[in-house]
C-alpha cells in the first residue's frame, strides 16, 4: 500500500485532476466561442474575395465591379482520406464567372496556417493570396502576411508547383522565401500546391444547382 502511495501516479493526482477540469473548461469555452470565431473568419473571407479574384489591392475601389459570391465544397480523396475545401465562386453582374477562391490550411512553423487562394475563372493562374490565420514567429515568419511578400504569388501559373527559394527567385514558379523564415515560406507554398492539386479537377465546373438558386 505504501508503495502505491508513493508511485508516480499517486504523486501526480493533482496534475491529472487539474488536466481533466481544465480540459472540460476549455471544451466548454470552445463550444461557446467557436461559432463566433468561425463567423468572424467567414466575414473576413467574404471581404477579401473581390480583391483576391480581381487581383487588385484591398484598398482599391471595387465599387465598379459588384460581385456575387457563392460557396460550395469540393472534396478530394487521398489515400482513403477525404479532405474538403470551401470554395467561393465570384460572378459578375451578367453571371459570368470572375474567378474562384479556395480556403486551405496546413501546418506552418508554429501552428496551423489558414489561407485564401484566389484563382482566375479557368483556375490556371493565381490571382491573389490572403493569410487568414497564422501564429508564425513575430518578426520572421509572420512576414508572410505582408503585402509585398504575398503579391509575389499574383500571376503565377497554377500548373507548375510553387517552390520557395532562398535568395532571389529566378524561374517562373519560384517564390522568394522570407529571409530567416524558410520553413514558414515553404509551408505556404506547400499548402497552396496541395490545395490546388486537390481542387483542380472540380473547380472550373460550376455546379448547376447554382442556377436554381435565386440569389
Amino acid at each position: 500500500m505504501g508503495k502505491f502511495k508513493n508511485s508516480n501516479l499517486m504523486q501526480a493526482w493533482l496534475v491529472l485532476l487539474l488536466s481533466l477540469v481544465f480540459s472540460v473548461t476549455l471544451a466548454a469555452v470552445h463550444i461557446r466561442l467557436a461559432p463566433v470565431i468561425e463567423e468572424n473568419k467567414t466575414r473576413e473571407t467574404m471581404k477579401n474575395i473581390p480583391a483576391l479574384v480581381t487581383g487588385k489591392d484591398n484598398n482599391a475601389d471595387l465599387k465598379g465591379e459588384p460581385l456575387s459570391i457563392k460557396q460550395r465544397t469540393i472534396r478530394a480523396q487521398k489515400k482513403g482520406m477525404v479532405k474538403s475545401y470551401a470554395v467561393y465562386d465570384a460572378f459578375d453582374n451578367s453571371g459570368n464567372v470572375m474567378g474562384h477562391v479556395v480556403k486551405a490550411s496546413g501546418q506552418g512553423y508554429a501552428d496551423k496556417i489558414e489561407l485564401l487562394i484566389g484563382l482566375d475563372a479557368t483556375a490556371s493562374t493565381i490571382t491573389g493570396l490572403f493569410i487568414l490565420d497564422q501564429k508564425e514567429t513575430p518578426g520572421l515568419g509572420n512576414k508572410i502576411i505582408e503585402d509585398t511578400w504575398r503579391n509575389q504569388f499574383k500571376g503565377k501559373s497554377s500548373y507548375a508547383p510553387l517552390v520557395a527559394k532562398k535568395g532571389k527567385s529566378v524561374s517562373e514558379n519560384e517564390i522568394d522565401a522570407v529571409s530567416g523564415a524558410t520553413i514558414s515560406s515553404r509551408s505556404v507554398t506547400e499548402i497552396i500546391n496541395i490545395a490546388i492539386g486537390d481542387v483542380k479537377m472540380d473547380i472550373a465546373l460550376i455546379p448547376e444547382s447554382y442556377n436554381m438558386e435565386n440569389k
Binding site: L18, H30, L33, V36
Partner: protein, 205 residues
C-alpha cells in the same frame, strides 16, 4: 507567516516599488513588441491581468496540495488554460485586435511575470493576498505598457488612440513605432525610473 507581505503591501508593491517591467524587468518580449500603439498595449495589459488574476487565485486555492517537484507543471497548466480562454475570447469578440496581436496572446503562457507571481506569492499566501497581488502587479504592468506605448505612438505618429494630438506639421518619427523605438523608449524609461529612485534615496551626487 509573519514575514510575508500583507494584501495591501502586495498591492502597492506591484504598482511601483516592484513594478514588473521597470523594477523586475520581467515580460520584456511583449513589452517591446506590442507597445507601438495604445490599443494593442491596453488589450495586452487586460489579457495579462485576466490570466494573472485567475492563475494566482487558482494557485492559491490549491497551494496546500502542491508537491514541490510538480508545482511548475501545475502553474504552467493553469496559466495555459486561462491564456487559451483569453486568446479565444479575443478571437471571438475582438477579431481585428486578435489578428494584430497575433502570437503575443498565446505567448502570455511563457510570460515570466505570471509564473513569478504564482511562485513568489500565490503558492505561499491565502487567496485574498494572491488576488490583491495579481491586481497590483497587473496595474503596474499596465502602467508600464501604457507609458511606453503613449510615448511611442505620440512621437511616431503624432496620434494617441488614433486621434491626432500633435500638430499635423509634426514630422512623424517612424522609428518610434518600429522595433528600435521600443528599445530606445524602454531604455530611457528605465533610466528615468532609476534616476528618480536614486534621487529619492539621496544616492545621487
Amino acid at each position: 507567516m509573519a514575514d510575508q507581505p500583507t494584501a495591501i503591501e502586495r498591492f502597492i508593491n506591484g504598482i511601483l516599488p516592484e513594478n514588473p517591467v521597470y523594477r523586475q524587468l520581467l515580460g520584456m518580449c511583449p513589452t517591446l513588441a506590442v507597445t507601438n500603439g495604445m490599443k494593442p498595449a491596453i488589450t495586452m495589459a487586460c489579457a495579462v491581468a485576466f490570466v494573472l488574476l485567475c492563475a494566482n487565485v487558482v494557485t492559491s486555492l490549491i497551494r496546500d496540495l502542491l508537491k514541490p517537484h510538480l508545482r511548475i507543471v501545475v502553474f504552467t497548466l493553469t496559466i495555459a488554460t486561462f491564456v487559451t480562454i483569453a486568446d479565444r475570447f479575443l478571437a471571438a469578440y475582438f477579431f481585428q485586435m486578435s489578428k494584430t496581436l497575433g502570437p503575443y496572446i498565446p505567448l502570455i503562457i511563457v510570460n515570466c511575470i505570471i509564473i513569478a507571481r504564482c511562485e513568489v506569492c500565490a503558492s505561499k499566501q491565502p487567496v485574498l493576498v494572491a488576488a490583491s497581488d495579481a491586481v497590483g502587479q497587473s496595474i503596474g504592468y499596465g502602467l508600464a505598457l501604457v507609458s511606453i506605448a503613449a510615448i511611442r505612438e505620440i512621437l511616431g505618429t503624432g496620434e494617441l488612440f488614433g486621434l491626432q494630438i500633435l500638430p499635423v506639421s509634426w514630422p512623424d518619427w517612424v522609428i518610434m513605432v518600429l522595433p528600435p523605438g521600443a528599445f530606445i523608449t524602454l531604455g530611457l524609461m528605465l533610466g528615468l525610473v532609476n534616476w528618480i529612485d536614486m534621487k529619492k534615496n539621496g544616492n545621487l551626487k
